[in-house]
């Protein structure tokens, strides 16, 4: 089933036993972040958390860890909560085949009920903001879907963007936003700033769960996120025009903030504990002026804790990073079987492939580096044989243990681009990248002493099923 807003998804999580309502009164800090941090340590079926008694607030509703486990990610996609990781990635791939599904324009969004304009706008009056990690420079909004258009081609809906970016609250109507140069909004801002203009943005908070997934999917510049949402939901995504900017925003959001990134202005921002598991330092970053806030009555603030991996963000961007890389590789190399790019948004990528001829696996590995997402990520690429499941790390380690000879299987390419947040870079934004060929050499590459590999017996699959039935019947 398709969820049109966050509230209906929270109801489903509750029914499925995947929403934990914390009824005790808690402190805004450090309790809520610490609880969300702890939820991430509960394993594959960790619940979302819901708080509505927060010290000092009279009317706070805060949802954390909504995508924070494979069980919740499955429910977001309308799959049974027991669905395994690779099966979720496979479902994502199958549904992508329906892309693009045009969004549906829907009137009377519930967030139009309440508005604040100009100097009246005060984000603190609307959201029960909370701080996350000790070294953070302030209050962050880190799960909002931010909408912008290409200033040189504003009528082209394919070039519009819906993305999740880190946003720091700098004042009642002042924010900072981090446009990583590899991400689409940075291209929009670059064009606006070259022309000496501001970039209008709509920041949408508390969305249906598929909007959060597509907003964090590294799609191509001219691919429309709402059209992917339609494919993943199996129904057009409901959108509506934001009242001030006209930007297309989700119909079901809890809060819609409109304003501009002020052109050619920068101001100290951060640090912030990032998805890399490290703080970014204080940098001079963009400034957003809030011009209008629209919100539902009794809005739910959906927020995301991120820290030492894995936390919610890793689940949110796991499948959504694997799938576009798989699609792009498969297009050029049909031999590619599967792509696991779920470690730190694809700073490590594992690809399984058949080999056309000797050296082919290395070529596939190098192609990863030149995909749009690989440009800013993919610091290490591991290529494994077609019978190795890249989501099965013990199998990947077996491949590294036996198929990889450093003498000929490590390709280090100097001074390639990487996102500035990658802490291992020599200088921020520049890193050597590594392709590890952990496949069995094929002719004319005759290195190694492989002889014959042992495979599962032909009868093993049937026996596995039989044993599972026997075990279930005990």
């Amino acid at each position: 089933m398709a969820f049109d807003d966050l509230r209906s998804f929270l109801e489903t999580l509750d029914k499925e036993g995947q929403l934990l309502h914390v009824t005790d009164e808690v402190m805004p800090e450090p309790d809520i972040a610490a609880a969300a941090n702890a939820a991430a340590r509960m394993g594959e079926s960790a619940p979302a958390l819901y708080f509505d008694r927060v010290t000092g607030f009279t009317d706070a509703r805060i949802a954390m860890n909504v995508h924070g486990s494979w069980a919740n990610h499955a429910l977001a996609l309308g799959l049974p909560k027991e669905t395994g990781t690779k099966d979720q990635v496979d479902a994502f791939i199958r549904r992508w085949a329906d892309f693009p599904v045009k969004p549906e324009r829907r009137d009377d969004p519930p967030w139009a009920e309440n508005t604040m304009d100009g100097d009246e706008a005060d984000i603190f009056q609307v959201l029960p903001l909370i701080r996350l990690n000790d070294g953070d420079g302030g209050f962050y909004i880190d799960k909002a879907a931010v909408v912008s258009k290409d200033p040189d081609d504003p009528g082209n809906s394919d070039k519009q963007n819906v993305g999740i970016y880190r946003i720091e609250v700098k004042g009642r109507r002042r924010l900072a936003l981090q446009p990583v140069p590899m991400h689409d909004i940075a291209q929009h801002l670059h064009k606006a700033e070259e022309a000496g203009e501001d970039l209008p943005v709509a920041i949408t908070i508390g969305n249906d769960p598929v909007i959060s997934i597509v907003a964090s999917t590294p799609m191509k510049y001219d691919e429309n996120e709402y059209e992917l949402a339609g494919a993943l939901r199996g129904a057009p995504a409901p959108v509506t025009a934001a009242p001030l900017t006209g930007l297309p925003v989700p119909w079901g959001s809890e809060v819609v903030i409109e304003g501009v990134i002020e052109g050619r202005k920068r101001e100290i921002e951060g640090p912030f504990g990032e998805f890399t598991g490290h703080y970014s330092g204080g940098r001079s970053m963009t400034v957003i002026r809030i011009d209008r806030i629209s919100h539902r009555s009794r809005p739910v603030f959906e927020h995301l804790y991120l820290g030492m991996p894995w936390t919610e963000v890793d689940h949110l961007i796991a499948a959504s990073t694997c799938v576009p890389l798989y699609q792009q590789l498969k297009k050029d190399f049909p031999e590619v079987q599967a792509v696991n790019a779920m470690y730190t948004h694809g700073l490590v990528v594992i690809v399984s492939t058949k080999k056309r001829y000797g050296g082919f696996a290395k070529a596939v590995g190098m192609r990863v580096l030149t995909t749009p997402h690989g440009l800013g990520y993919a610091a290490t690429v591991i290529v494994v044989d077609e019978d190795v499941d890249p989501f099965n790390l013990p199998q990947v380690m077996w491949a590294l243990s036996t198929k990889m000879n450093p003498a000929g299987d490590l390709i280090q390419i100097p001074n390639l681009p990487v996102l500035e947040l990658a802490p291992q870079a020599a200088a921020p934004g520049i890193v050597d990248k590594l392709v590890i060929d952990a496949t069995t050499p094929v002719a004319p590459d005759r290195r190694g002493n492989y002889g014959n590999q042992v495979h599962d017996l032909p009868e093993t699959a049937a026996w596995l099923e039989r044993l599972q039935q026997l075990a279930a019947g005990r």
Binding site: E29, D134, G138, R172, G196, I268, G282
Partner: protein
């Protein structure tokens, strides 16, 4: 609740502004440093709110602010057409 902090825990600047006060009176205030823009709630643990308990590794100086790199860099203005 009045602000118990007289200086910014992070950069020790003396100018600190009250940004928001708890809807439940007396519970907490949100404060912001005018120099480094650090923002915090007075009810947070001492390690986040008091200069003497604030970890050295998170401290910031005027020089850190002045030398912070631009993300992203501001591009040159486009030449006018024609």
């Amino acid at each position: 609740m009045s602000a118990p902090t007289t200086v910014c825990p992070r950069c020790a600047h003396p100018a600190v502004e009250n940004v928001f006060t708890s809807p439940v009176p007396g519970a907490w205030d949100v404060l912001q440093c005018r120099q480094c823009l650090y923002m915090w709630r007075t009810s947070e643990p001492a390690r986040r709110t008091r200069r003497d308990a604030y970890p050295d590794r998170f401290k910031m100086t005027r020089a850190d602010i002045d030398n912070a790199i631009e993300v992203p860099a501001v591009p040159p203005l486009r030449e006018p057409a024609g």
